[in-house]
Amino acid sequence: MIKFENVGKVYPNGFEGLKDINLEIEQGEFVAIIGLSGAGKSTLIRTINRMHDVTSGKLTVDGVDVMSLSGKTLRRFRRKIGMIFQSFNLITRTTVIKNVLTAFVPDMPWYRSAFGIYTKEEKIKALECLDKVGILDKAFVRADQLSGGQQQRVALARTLAQNPQIILADEPVAALDPVTANQVMGDFKRINEDMNITILINIHHIDLALKYANRVIGIREGKIVFDGPAKGTQWDEVLDNIYVGKVDREGNLQEEG
């Protein structure tokens, strides 16, 4: 369980990224976080694996105070949290399977990672993860030769290879076309349901958020302004609040004035 208690985050330049966040997310939930760019969606997600520090309040994951971790304990903690990025963050100059195999690097002695020596078991496990996201046939292709959707799936396979309990996804479909975006969201949904992995996803596509997530959190200027189920909510008013009256339910911008 992820629990935010009065969490705040002030950047060194004085900007308040998060204000008084209170949130409880149970294991196995699929949560979409929506809001304008700069509202604090990324900051919120990145505090969970401590890629960003919180500056006030308490953030616990499975009872562990995230801010109490450092060095080795922090790295071990991060092992159970996967992260997916908008720009995939793959090693483009190398093959797909090698990208997935990097998930094992933190548990390996340095000389094996330095020379890229992986055991047969590790390779089979990496291939299984690629199979789970349906791109087993691309295993030995260079990562930069794949389409955006395929690259995001490689990233997803890499994350699965570390056996996470939680996956944090920072705008995973923002760089993808609508059809591919739907497929990737479908992958997330399947992983969420089949493996009971908690998924937190930042997303700009409101339609995708409502279609795939169970719970939607709306953020505006660092504050949670909505938190409720994806189904059965009166969206027009809620979206009006989250997006400060600029967007309708289909995600179209409203003409001002």
Binding site: M51, R79, I81, R93, T102, V105, W110
Partner: protein, 275 residues
């Protein structure tokens, strides 16, 4: 639109669209730079005492000496082999040692890998200092420390390679896509694990290519190092020029030319495959 003093003299070009809207393209700044460069060149002619008359009247001597080198003295060839191979050995060993040593320091000089700004600046100053020292000066110092011979030459080339490859490598590391590095850290990898897995594969081809290019150049540098007694082909080149044995000098130059040509051709072919 912001108009500077320059724009007020040289008016921006105006484009008018059919609907009456306008776009402006500011006048080029190139003339300023052209005038600056011309002025600096004129100044350097004055300072260096460059004299066209001397150049024209003495240029003939160059061709006289060149003419005396032909035909090269082929009988001298057996005596060239050893210093020639010394030169190649010096440059190869020096290049490899310098390039390998430079890697950890290049890591510490990259802002995206090394978190401490102080270490980064210290490393960069060190690299700049080393590159400021001309190789021939390092060789001269090395002969004083290690005595005359190829060891001094090897050290000089290693020091030069260290500075040269180090600078190119840290600049390469800084242009790398940090996404994969971030992903590795988010997975619980240490900075060094993330460096090895995410940055090395991106930098390695350029690093190897730079190493080859450096080696190529070092063969030429190494040829000169003999002048200060640091071993290699420069030793006999210096000797034969002082004795005015131009046909032998010609032979040395031909041997050097062929060697450099072969090394450059092989290196270029390899580098093409790398990048």
């Amino acid at each position: 639109m912001n108009l500077t003093f320059y724009d007020k003299i040289f008016k921006p070009r105006e484009y008018v669209l059919p609907n009456g809207k306008k776009a402006y393209k500011k006048a080029s700044r190139a003339p300023i730079y052209a005038i600056l460069i011309l002025a600096m060149s004129a100044l350097s002619v004055k300072i260096t005492g460059f004299d066209m008359e001397v150049l024209v009247s003495r240029i003939g001597q160059f061709f006289v000496i060149l003419g005396e080198m032909f035909p090269p003295n082929a009988d001298y060839m057996p005596k060239i082999w050893e210093p020639l191979f010394d030169t190649i050995k010096m440059s190869l060993l020096g290049s490899v040692v310098g390039a390998l040593l430079s890697v950890p320091f290049a890591m510490l000089a990259s802002t995206n890998v090394c978190p401490s700004k102080i270490i980064v600046s210290v490393m960069r100053v060190m690299f700049s200092l080393i590159r400021t020292l001309p190789t021939i000066v390092i060789a001269l110092v090395a002969t004083l420390v290690f005595g005359l011979g190829t060891l001094a030459g090897t050290v000089a080339i290693a020091v030069f390679s260290f500075g040269y490859i180090g600078k190119l490598t840290y600049e390469e590391i800084e242009t790398v896509d940090m996404g994969a590095f971030e992903a590795m850290q988010a997975m619980g990898a240490t900075r060094s694990e993330a460096f090895i897995s995410a940055i090395v594969p991106q930098v390695l081809p350029f690093y190897l290519s730079n190493c080859l290019f450096n080696f190529e150049g070092n063969v030429r540098y190494a040829a000169v190092l003999g002048y200060v007694g640091a071993g290699g082909i420069g030793l006999i080149l210096n000797e034969k020029i002082s004795w005015r044995e131009y046909p032998s000098v010609g032979m040395i130059l031909v041997a050097l030319f062929v060697t450099v040509f072969i090394i450059e051709t092989v290196s270029r072919a390899l580098r093409k495959k790398l990048v």
